[in-house]
Symmetry: C2
Subunit: 538 residues, 2 copies
């Protein structure tokens, strides 16, 4: 049985130097697993700790296969491609077949990252990786240095933000699958663009989730807002930890991804002596040692706790950076946005000053919304560890109607808000289309195939807006038009005010890149003065 | 409103220097709280964060009172005395009234602790603190240096191990209440004995638990084996944390307790930046700074994770020590005890050698029973941080029939097992009566008043023994005779083999105290050699 290693993926189906398929699947609940091919079934050999392994010449790249577990034919939990969607068979894929031409590429320093968050399905008319590739020259011209791709792991149907993915290793078939993703990353690197991929390790989606039939992937020790917590510290956790560590390594090693954005790490519960997040980052460090390539891991974290971004040597979890939602909240309230829901903890300009000064607005104060003292000091943390934005997929899409800033703030206020992001001592992030003040919404959409689940999502969505919008009707997440309405309008690029805004963004980005003062993320010499009366900072 | 401080208890009812009662209760779910006295009701004034406070001359020490919350008359969550049991009114008690005569007492160094664990209800014929006091001279003569008292916080009825306590601040009325506990500690100190108190912060018992009617004491974010987890990191947690921190401080400051043994800290879930256990130990350190008195806090912990016992300065939780159940398990399997249930991970003499060498038997190996890699290295940890035993209330009482070693091992084997404990580089602990090879069992007993709960406990007990005893009938926990049968037999003290055993213990303790080699807890120069064939260590 292949032991976990740094330089090769070992779980699922992988092709070795002889071109044979090495098959490794973890199925501790059974004594027998079969590999089901087009016209035969092969017995896989039981190993210790619930693993089953086999090396065979009967499975070739492109071939479809399933595992038979307790009489049921199931997709591979470590599948790289689901050609027929989440419920169908898996397809073997050779991770090493792609002809990379980015040997000269070197990751850019983190402090030079200017992120551009995009959703593959709505970024271009055809909603594929190829659609993104076609716009790379535009993005280079705009001046951004990194595209951040919302999750691409196989989800049910063809319309989803990506957070309902159920096969962490499989690249969404409707986006083009793994080969198209490798092609896209290669194309980015040839243009000097870094690639950030959003990954989700706090839960697995509700539809097409066959993991419980294989092993203890879940635990009921903890609750998450999205169902069962992934088992990182209970019986069987060694294998689950290995599964996710291998996932991280794969994106960097086999897809040449430059950075990961890890979704909602605060919902990853682990009482092991070494937290899984720390162990992941330790493995990333080992990979860099092995390959000489630099990789960044950035957390989305709602805890205002520097433990996550402190270095490994200081017993931190070792994330290179984290998103700062509170900067966004303070900025929007200052700009005159509404103050209900999670905005209720924010009061305007003084909070924005806190964000400029500390990253975290709450760094030890009592929060009325959380009903507790919240946050740690950020002393000694460099500003490049904080990613800020005036809008992103969540803040836009989690409004009932999905309105972007373009629909909520005046043209001039939009410019001010972007300015606030761009001159911050943190790393700026744009959300696709904001640079031309895209008027279309970004709404919540799904394409489930199970009626019960579709209804549950509809209901859940409605419940979520109790706090936000008393009036109006929530768009139907399952409706194809909700997805179509969320596509950005490339036709506006050179029109009227849209063009003006785009030029403004371009100049602002150029300014940030050329003026050392604007990209200085060393916070030590910074001071922020608040003028409440004029609602300004100096 | 009184802020939490180190030198005075601030929550519940406390008497200030003018003899007035300062009343402080946290009731965030309501806008109105009344203080109900014998013949009147006083309105308590609402403060911030859900607190209500009042200073009055109408409540005197000894007076009974209740709080009226949402129309219901309830006991005080921070009650010091429940004269009529868990459901009745609370009684005011002046923590500072006792005339201490232990001003010269100084806590003994931790490495000199020889623990004697006892259960107040079954240790003496009358089952009270006074009953313990009457035997102190005997314990001094035996040579032990510290008594460890199983939990005394108010529990339902008069028979309970103590882990179903519901009023963490109230001292069990049937044991004699808070004044009698202060008297006992004082008497111990006069004889040179230290006092360790067992406290439970991982849950509150099922009967008489009125906390949910006051505030967010519980969270459903985590599960515990005993029901709702206490809320240390969710909305309202500041006040819950303060409640338990004040509890710790009270035992040390107002009861002169020398050390706490904290029950099952692995079940205390907290994702705050500063874990509640660490914050507790930080407050204990502050108390020592304030008073000059030394206090120890010892954890029961099932995680083999040195984070708990690493010092505060090294980001540890700062416990002075922890129990090592694995030493016990390895010892018993080596001695020929059964190997089912939690013993199945242990194989005998080689594991005992691991325990001698590392404290933790599992310090990074794969555990078949836990189905995961388990434990951290204990390098650099001094042996005085580990408490070991050949039996304790749990290992005895959690057998279906509650048999002590006296019923399971030969006389000579019992001597060998005690020898193994006494010559270890760790701190030894005895369980009451083992020194004369007490033949009576220590069984699980309760005295609930709710039929449904009584049945649930009976069933739960039976289910627990699926792994252990296929045959035989479990004693009824609710039956008075189960409690009576668990009392130790002082009449045997000077009889036959019992006397021989007692002399053996006394000599062994004297040897440990007089021979530096036997009480050396510095593990660096120790080596343990295993001889599997002869089942011996050298």
């Amino acid at each position: 049985m292949a032991k976990q290693n740094i330089i090769n993926r070992t779980i699922g189906v992988n092709f070795n130097n002889l071109g044979l398929a090495d098959v490794l699947v973890w199925a501790p609940f059974t004594d027998k697993v079969l590999l089901k091919l087009a016209d035969e079934e092969l017995a896989i050999i039981k190993q210790e700790h619930g693993y089953f392994s086999l090396t065979t010449n009967k499975l070739k790249p492109g071939d479809q296969y399933q595992f038979v577990v307790n009489g049921k034919s199931l997709p591979d939990p470590a599948s790289l491609l689901q050609p027929g969607g989440v419920h169908g068979p898996s397809a073997a894929f050779d991770l090493k077949a792609f002809a990379w031409t980015d040997a000269d590429w070197q990751n850019i320093p983190l402090s030079n990252y200017i992120f551009y968050e995009l959703h593959s399905g709505t970024f271009s008319a055809d909603g594929t990786f190829k659609g993104i590739e076609d716009k790379l020259d535009y993005l280079v011209d705009l001046g951004i240095t990194a595209i951040e791709i919302m999750p691409v792991s196989q989800f049910p149907g063809s319309r989803n933000w990506g957070y309902d993915g159920v096969f962490p290793f499989a690249v969404q078939n409707s986006y083009g699958g793994p080969a198209a993703l490798q092609h896209l990353v290669n194309a980015c690197h040839q243009r000097g663009l870094a690639v950030v991929l959003d990954v989700v390790y706090n839960h697995l989606g509700p539809e097409g989730n066959y993991f419980g039939q294989y092993g203890h992937y879940f635990t009921d020790k903890y609750h998450t807002p999205w169902g069962s917590a992934i088992n990182f510290d209970d019986a069987g956790c060694d294998e689950v930890r290995r599964y996710f560590i291998e996932n991280v390594l794969m994106w960097f090693r086999d897809f040449h991804v430059d950075a990961l954005r890890m979704d909602a790490v605060h919902a990853i519960r682990d009482f092991s002596p070494n937290h899984i997040l720390r162990e992941i980052n330790q493995h990333v460090a080992k990979l860099t040692q092995e390959t000489g390539r630099t990789h960044y891991v950035i957390a989305e974290c709602d805890l205002n706790d520097t433990r996550y971004i402190n270095p490994l040597q200081k017993d931190g979890y070792g994330f290179d950076g984290q998103w700062i939602d509170e900067f966004h909240h303070a900025l929007r309230v200052t700009a005159g946005g509404e103050r209900n829901g999670y905005y209720s903890d924010f009061n305007g300009i003084a909070d924005l000053a806190e964000a400029y000064q500390n990253g975290y607005v709450y760094h030890g104060q009592y929060s009325n919304q959380r009903q507790k003292t919240f946050g740690t000091t950020t002393e000694g943390i460099n500003g490049r560890q904080f990613v800020v934005f005036s809008q992103n997929h969540d803040q836009v899409g989690n409004r009932m109607l999905g309105e972007r800033s373009s629909r909520l703030f005046s043209f001039e206020m939009q410019k001010l808000m972007t300015g606030a992001v761009m001159i911050s001592p943190f790393l700026p992030m744009l959300f696709m289309g904001e640079e031309w003040s895209e008027p279309n919404p970004f709404q919540f959409f799904v394409s489930h195939s199970q009626e019960e689940l579709i209804e549950a999502v509809r209901k859940g969505r409605k419940a979520e807006f109790a706090d936000f919008h008393a009036e109006g009707k929530a768009p139907d997440p399952q409706d194809q038009s909700t997805f179509e309405n969320s596509k950005i309008s490339w036709g506006l690029l050179d029109k009227g005010q849209h063009k003006v805004m785009r030029e403004y963004y371009k100049n602002l980005i150029r300014l940030r890149k050329s003026q050392p003062a604007f990209k200085n993320t060393n916070r030590e010499n910074m001071s922020v003065l608040v003028n409440e009366a004029s609602n300004t900072l100096t």
